[in-house]
């Protein structure tokens, strides 16, 4: 357990270093890039001082790491807001979107994967494997646009884009999240189908499954009680890895649907070269990924008593 935590801290430290490197491979002067060609030399110098860019690289690195450790992410250049406040304001939407998309990906991926494994080699299995490969080839932003075309523009079932009014309850917002969540969920279900199928096939070949069958247990009980219980830890692991894909999908899809989440914030920050926001978002998103995978490892131990930390 302690080793796992220490490993996580090392990865977080390196993640922050990667963020620092990205922000400092900028050719030329970031302050000048940010302010554009019309800026005066004095403005550039002032921004350089404000961002601490006039210090030497090692000094900048140290102060960056110290600030990152305390989650002091600085001020946005374009928004009249601190980076922390900007991220906190937009995080709930992105979290909801990612969570619903994860539910869709699991709800779709796990049953299909289990069925494909149980009916191995059948037409159903081939269809499931083929569909999974197709789903993995779909860019979520394009799925989103296709959904808008049919569900919003042609059939008027759901809103085209945007988000409910700020005062409305969570249910009012949900309507706006359905299409984007499907767009993010479908491509990410592919990996879950493949992993569920593979781990179920492993487990179904085990002796204890044969024993359960031999003692006359019905196929449903064998699959759910004996096989799936043992395959689910692996399914959980792949879900942890899918989180990166889900967040990545959410970032792009928020732009398609005009949802004011972290993805939208990052994309506009990139287009405006708002480096403090980019840095902050990189840190928070990768931090979330690392924490979620730590949680997955802990759950793993809870589900499988053989695993100890």
């Amino acid at each position: 357990m302690l080793r796992r935590l220490a490993g996580m801290l090392v990865v977080m430290f390196l993640v922050a270093s990667v963020v620092f490197v990205i922000a400092h491979v900028i050719p030329g002067d970031p302050a000048a890039v940010m302010l554009g060609p019309s800026a005066t030399a004095a403005d550039v110098a002032a921004l350089r001082a404000r961002l601490g860019l006039d210090a030497s690289l090692p000094v900048q690195y140290l102060s960056f790491m110290r600030a990152a450790a305390g989650l002091r992410l600085g001020q946005s250049i374009f928004l009249d807001q601190s980076v922390t406040a900007a991220l906190a304001q937009r995080a709930p939407l992105t979290l909801q979107l990612t969570a619903i998309a994860a539910a869709i990906a699991v709800g779709l991926g796990v049953p299909v994967g289990v069925l494909a494994a149980v009916r191995r080699g059948s037409l159903l299995d081939q269809a499931a494997t083929g569909l999974a490969m197709t789903a993995a080839s779909l860019p979520s932003f394009w799925v989103g646009l296709t959904l808008i075309e049919y569900f919003a523009v042609r059939w008027h079932v759901l809103p085209v884009a945007g988000y409910g009014p700020p005062g409305a309850g969570p249910l009012a917002h949900l309507r706006y999240l359905i299409l984007p969540a499907i767009a993010v969920g479908i491509p990410n279900s592919a990996l879950i189908v493949r992993f569920t199928r593979a781990s179920m096939l492993d487990v179904l070949g085990e002796d204890y499954v044969r024993t359960a069958r031999a003692k006359g247990l019905g196929p449903g009980a064998v699959i759910m009680k004996h096989a799936f219980r043992n395959a689910r830890t692996q399914v959980l692991t792949v879900l942890g890895l899918t989180v990166a894909g889900l967040i990545g999908g959410a970032i792009v899809t928020e732009t398609v649907f005009g949802l004011p989440g972290i993805g939208n914030l990052v994309v506009s920050a990139v287009l405006r070269r708002d480096y403090p926001v980019i840095q902050g978002a990189l840190l928070v998103i990768s931090g979330a990924y690392v924490l979620i995978n730590l949680a997955v490892d802990l759950l793993y131990a809870a589900l499988d008593p053989r695993v100890r930390y």
Partner: protein, 291 residues
């Protein structure tokens, strides 16, 4: 696992044997045919369609698919089919360059991590750290730092996919280094460099080839995402992502603007995945554990 290595040097006309095995798999055959089609369309675009991708014809803007414009025309009256074919050029060029870059860098990092024990922990933690970012997020952040040319896209995506190649190559190296022929080479006094180059590298080509195919597929998707967000190749170039972004506002009026480039992209990526799967099974099904 060790069997894979021992059988690898069976090299009786290896390329032809590999092709024969690939063609026998229906899915891989389908993938190769689609890829061949995309390649021909990209290479012979100027001779296959009578329109230049940038040629505007405002009178016939947003024309639905017809005999004159097989896939319709866009908001400037440009031919969508011609733009899709030139888009294939951009996607394939970026894909190949990213595969070359990440394949080279990933092989160096992976083989070093797997063979030189002292460096393994550090190199693998760095790849862990880089893989903690979603592909597209790391890519747009790098684009913010680099610029907006095709080569900046290649560098950004090359950096994003290097850690994955490195992981696969390291996994293969860890298996190989325990085998007797490596031990024999070490006993004969071969240095690290020679063992890596002469004894390890040739045996890592199979997993590397498979991983490169999947990297190619992932690159096309992420590149399209970058263009779509406006952080990829310049918006004037007819990349599939740019075309979809441009068609977004005509949704409901001119759906071919998003369906045509989107389906080109999905077909290409699907074909690459099918070929990758086929290659993995044809080279050695046990590679499934690595890639």
């Amino acid at each position: 696992m060790s069997g894979m290595i021992a059988r690898a040097p069976a090299r009786a006309a290896p390329l032809r044997e590999l092709l024969r095995r690939l063609v026998r798999r229906r899915l891989a055959l389908f993938g190769m045919l689609v890829l061949a089609g995309v390649l021909i369309a990209a290479a012979a675009a100027p001779w296959l369609v009578p329109y230049a991708p940038q040629r505007m014809d405002i009178v016939h803007r947003l024309a639905p698919p017809s005999a004159a414009h097989l896939l319709g025309s866009d908001e400037f009256g440009r031919d969508v089919l011609a733009r899709c074919m030139y888009g294939a050029r951009i996607s394939l060029t970026i894909g190949l360059l990213v595969v070359a870059l990440s394949g080279l860098a990933g092989t160096i990092v992976g083989i070093t991590a797997g063979y030189v024990r002292r460096l393994d922990g550090f190199l693998m933690r760095v790849t862990d750290a880089m893989m903690a970012f979603p592909d597209i997020l790391l890519a747009i952040a790098l684009m913010a730092a680099l610029g907006a040319s095709l080569y900046d896209v290649v560098v950004a995506l090359g950096a994003v996919y290097t850690p994955r190649v490195a992981r696969v190559v390291r996994g293969g190296t860890l298996v190989l280094r325990e085998l007797q022929f490596v031990e024999a080479a070490e006993a004969l006094g071969a240095g690290d460099w020679r063992v890596m180059r002469v004894h390890l590298l040739p045996n890592l080509l199979s997993p590397l080839l498979v991983q490169c195919t999947f990297t190619f597929a992932a690159t096309i998707l992420t590149e399209a995402g970058l263009s779509f967000l406006g952080a990829g190749v310049p918006p004037t170039s007819p990349s599939w992502g740019n075309m979809i972004a441009g068609g977004q506002q005509y949704i409901g009026r001119a759906d071919w603007l998003i369906f045509a480039p989107g389906l080109c992209m999905v077909a290409t990526v699907l074909a690459l995945q099918a070929v990758g799967d086929g290659l993995r099974d044809a080279l050695d099904p046990r590679l499934r554990r690595l890639t």
